[in-house]
C-alpha cells in the first residue's frame, strides 16, 4: 500500500501536511519559524502583531495544569514596523507563513496589513477572539457578527491575500459568526482561540497564579469544545477550517478533520511532546490512514457529518 498523501490545499495555499503552528507559540522570530518548518509543520503563524509595540502582561504569563495551559501573555509584540523587519523575505522559510494581526480599531488592522504587505506572507489571520487582553478581541467586542464583518471587510479591501478569521469557542452560535466572516470576504476560519478566561489559584499563596489573574485555556481541556465548534462551523460555511484546540496526536488530528477541518493547529501539544510534534503527528496520521484505507486528507474532511 502506498503512503497516504497528507498534502492539502488551504484556499489556494499548498501545504505538505495539515499541521499549522498557531499564533502565540514560538512565532517571535524567523529563526524559530525555520526550526518549526524543519520539525515538519505544514505552515506556521507569527506571534500576533499590533501597529504599536506592546510589552504584554507581567509574569507569570503561561502556566501548565493537568489538562493544558492557561495563558495571559497580553499580546506582547514589537509592533508592525519591527515585525516587518524581523520577518523580511519570509519566503526564506520553507513553509507558508501566516501573519496574525491585531488592532483595537478597524483602521489599526489595515495599517498593520499595509506595513507587512511586502514581506511575502501567505495569508493574514485576524484573531477577533482573545479572551484576556483589554482593547482587543472579545474584550473589545470584536467577536460579534457586526464587528467581525466590519473588520474583515476593511482588511479585504486592503489585501489580496487569503484572510483567516480566528473565532472564540465562547460564542454560543459560532456557525453564525463564521458565516458573517465568510460573507464579509474571509477565505478560511481558524477555530478556535483559547477558551475562557479561566483562573488557577495557588491556595498556599491565596492568589491567582497568572499576574493578569485570568487567562485563556488551551490543550486537552479545550479539545472536545474545539471539535464541536469545527463541526458546527462546517455546517454553516463553505470556506475551509483550520481546527485548533488540544490536538497532540495523529488521532486527535484525524478527529478534527472528520469534524470538518482542512488543516489543524498544534500549539499546546508542543509543550507535551516537544517541537518535533508536527512530524510525530504526521507519522501517526499516515499509519492510521494506511490501516484504515484512506489515501488523502480530502477523503476524511467532514465525514463525521455523513
Amino acid at each position: 500500500m502506498t503512503t497516504p498523501n497528507l498534502t492539502i490545499d488551504l484556499c489556494g495555499i499548498k501545504l505538505s501536511n495539515p499541521t499549522v503552528l498557531p499564533s502565540g507559540f514560538l512565532g517571535t522570530s524567523k529563526s524559530l519559524l525555520k526550526r518549526v518548518a524543519d520539525n515538519g509543520a505544514g505552515a506556521a503563524t507569527i506571534k500576533s502583531v499590533s501597529f504599536e509595540p506592546r510589552e504584554g502582561h507581567k509574569n507569570p504569563t503561561v502556566i501548565p495544569f493537568e489538562a493544558g495551559l492557561l495563558n495571559a501573555v497580553g499580546y506582547s509584540n514589537p509592533g508592525a514596523e519591527e515585525t516587518a523587519r524581523e520577518f523580511a523575505n519570509i519566503k526564506d522559510v520553507s513553509i507558508p507563513v501566516i501573519a496574525s494581526i491585531i488592532g483595537t480599531k478597524t483602521d489599526d488592522f489595515v495599517r498593520v496589513v499595509d506595513k507587512l504587505s511586502a514581506n511575502g506572507f501567505s495569508a493574514i489571520e485576524l484573531p477577533l477572539s482573545c479572551p484576556h487582553t483589554p482593547g482587543f478581541g472579545l474584550l473589545a467586542g470584536q467577536g460579534t457578527p457586526e464587528s467581525t464583518k466590519e473588520i474583515v471587510s476593511a482588511v479585504r479591501k486592503a489585501t489580496e491575500l487569503p484572510i483567516f478569521v480566528k473565532l472564540s469557542p465562547n460564542i454560543p452560535e459560532i456557525g453564525n459568526l463564521a458565516k458573517a466572516a465568510e460573507d464579509a470576504g474571509a477565505n478560511a476560519i481558524t477555530a478556535v482561540n483559547t477558551l475562557g478566561p479561566g483562573m488557577i489559584i495557588n491556595i498556599e499563596a491565596r492568589k491567582p497564579v497568572l499576574s493578569y489573574r485570568v487567562g485563556g485555556v488551551s490543550g486537552q481541556a479545550l479539545r472536545p469544545i474545539a471539535t464541536r465548534c469545527v463541526y458546527d462551523i462546517f455546517e454553516s460555511v463553505k470556506i475551509p477550517i483550520i481546527g485548533t484546540g488540544g490536538i497532540s496526536t495523529g488521532r486527535h488530528a484525524i478527529e478534527m478533520i472528520m469534524a470538518g477541518a482542512t488543516a489543524i493547529g498544534v500549539g499546546t501539544g508542543i509543550y507535551e511532546r516537544g517541537i518535533d510534534i508536527f512530524r510525530k503527528i504526521c507519522l501517526e496520521m499516515e499509519t492510521w490512514m494506511s490501516e484504515n484505507n484512506f489515501n488523502s486528507i480530502d477523503e476524511m474532511i467532514g465525514i463525521a457529518h455523513e
Binding site: 502565540g24 507559540f25 514560538l26 512565532g27 517571535t28 522570530s29 529563526s31 524559530l32 525555520k34 526550526r35 506571534k47 509595540p53 506592546r54 510589552e55 504584554g56 507581567k58 509574569n59 507569570p60 504569563t61 503561561v62 502556566i63 501548565p64 495544569f65 495551559l69 495563558n71 501573555v73 506582547s76 509584540n77 514589537p78 509592533g79 519591527e82 524581523e86 488557577i200 495557588n202 498556599e204 499563596a205 491565596r206 492568589k207 497564579v209 499576574s211 500549539g267 499546546t268 508542543i270 509543550y271 507535551e272 517541537i275
Partner: protein
C-alpha cells in the same frame, strides 16, 4: 514535559545569607532535583516572576543568590526568614558534567564567572571539586565580588583593581591554558565576556559551555520570548556548547526586549539594568 514543579510551589525562606553589599542568598529546605546550569522561576504572588540559577544545592536544601537591581529583587531583599516564595522548575538544559578524562583528574577544566554570573557556576564547581579545575571570578569592584571565600583556589579579578588582579579573567586565559591545557571551559557572566571566552576556545580548539541570559516568559519552551537564533534559551539552554554557539549570530550581539523587539546587547543591558 518538564520534570520538577510545573506550577509554583510555595516554599518558606529558611535562611538568608548576605553575600555582598547588594547581594543576598535565600535558602530553602527542599531536595531539588537540580542539574548545574538549570534555573528555577521565582514567583512573588501578585507581583511578577523571574528566573534564577540555583547557587546552593544539597541533599535537603537549595539556595538562590539575588542581586538587588529592580523592584522585584528589592522586594525579595526586604523579605525575612519564614516568608514564602513560589518556586517552579528546575527548567532547561544545564552544563555537561565533563568527559571521563576530567572526572578522573587527567584532564583540566576552567570555570570563569563574571559578576552575578558566578551564581550559575557554584553548583557546577562543587560537582567538579575533586578535579583539577581553575576558578576565575571577575567583578567590577571589590564590593560586588561574590563567593570569594567559598573556594580555596580561586583567582579574583576586578575591573578597578580594588581586589585581586586588575583586569578581566579573559586576560589571563592565554597563560593559564599554556600551563594547564584545558579540555573544557565553562562560563557565565556578561555576554561580552562569554563571547571572548568562546572565541578563545574556538581558537585553541577547547570545548566551551556558556550559560546565556535572555528575558523569559513561559520558561517551558513554547512562547519564543527568549529566542536566540532559533534556540530557546529557557529550554534548549540556558547552557549552550561550542557547536550551538557557533550557529548563534545573536550570541554576543542581540537580545529581545519584553515586547519582542530585537536590540543590541548594550540597549538590552541598559533596560535590564545590569
Amino acid at each position: 514535559m518538564s520534570e520538577g514543579f510545573e506550577q509554583p510551589v510555595m516554599m518558606k525562606i529558611d535562611k538568608i545569607i548576605n553575600e555582598s553589599d547588594d547581594t543576598k542568598s535565600f535558602m530553602f529546605r527542599h531536595n531539588l532535583d537540580y542539574k548545574p546550569g538549570q534555573f528555577i522561576m521565582v514567583w512573588l504572588p501578585g507581583i511578577d516572576e523571574k528566573p534564577f540559577a540555583v547557587s546552593y544545592s544539597g541533599d535537603d536544601f537549595f539556595g538562590i543568590t539575588v542581586l538587588e537591581r529592580g523592584n522585584f529583587t528589592k522586594l525579595m531583599h526586604n523579605m525575612s526568614v519564614g516568608e514564602q516564595l513560589g518556586i517552579r522548575g528546575p527548567f532547561g538544559h544545564g552544563f555537561s558534567i565533563p568527559a571521563d578524562n576530567i572526572k578522573d583528574g587527567s584532564g583540566n577544566a576552567c570555570v570563569i564567572g563574571g559578576g552575578c554570573g558566578m551564581a550559575s557556576l557554584t553548583v557546577l564547581i562543587e560537582r567538579l571539586q575533586d578535579n583539577n579545575i581553575t576558578i576565575l571570578n571577575g567583578a567590577t569592584t571589590k564590593a560586588t565580588l561574590l563567593f570569594k571565600n567559598r573556594y580555596k583556589d580561586i583567582t579574583i579579578f576586578t575591573d578597578d583593581g580594588s581586589e585581586g588582579i586588575k583586569g578581566y579573567p579573559t586576560d589571563a586565559l592565554e597563560d593559564l591554558h599554556k600551563e594547564n591545557s584545558y579540555n573544557i571551559i565553562y562560563t557565565c557572566g556578561p555576554e561580552i565576556m562569554m563571547s571572548k571566552v568562546y572565541e578563545f576556545c574556538k581558537k585553541h580548539n577547547i570545548q566551551c559551555e556558556a550559560s546565556l541570559e535572555r528575558y523569559m516568559k513561559c520558561g517551558i519552551g513554547i512562547c519564543g520570548q527568549c529566542v536566540c537564533d532559533g534556540q530557546m534559551v529557557c529550554k534548549d539552554g540556558p547552557v549552550f556548547d561550542s557547536q550551538a554557539l557557533s550557529s548563534m549570530s545573536d550570541f554576543g550581539n542581540y537580545s529581545l526586549l519584553k515586547s519582542g523587539q530585537r536590540v543590541s546587547l548594550k540597549e538590552y543591558g541598559e533596560w535590564r539594568g545590569c
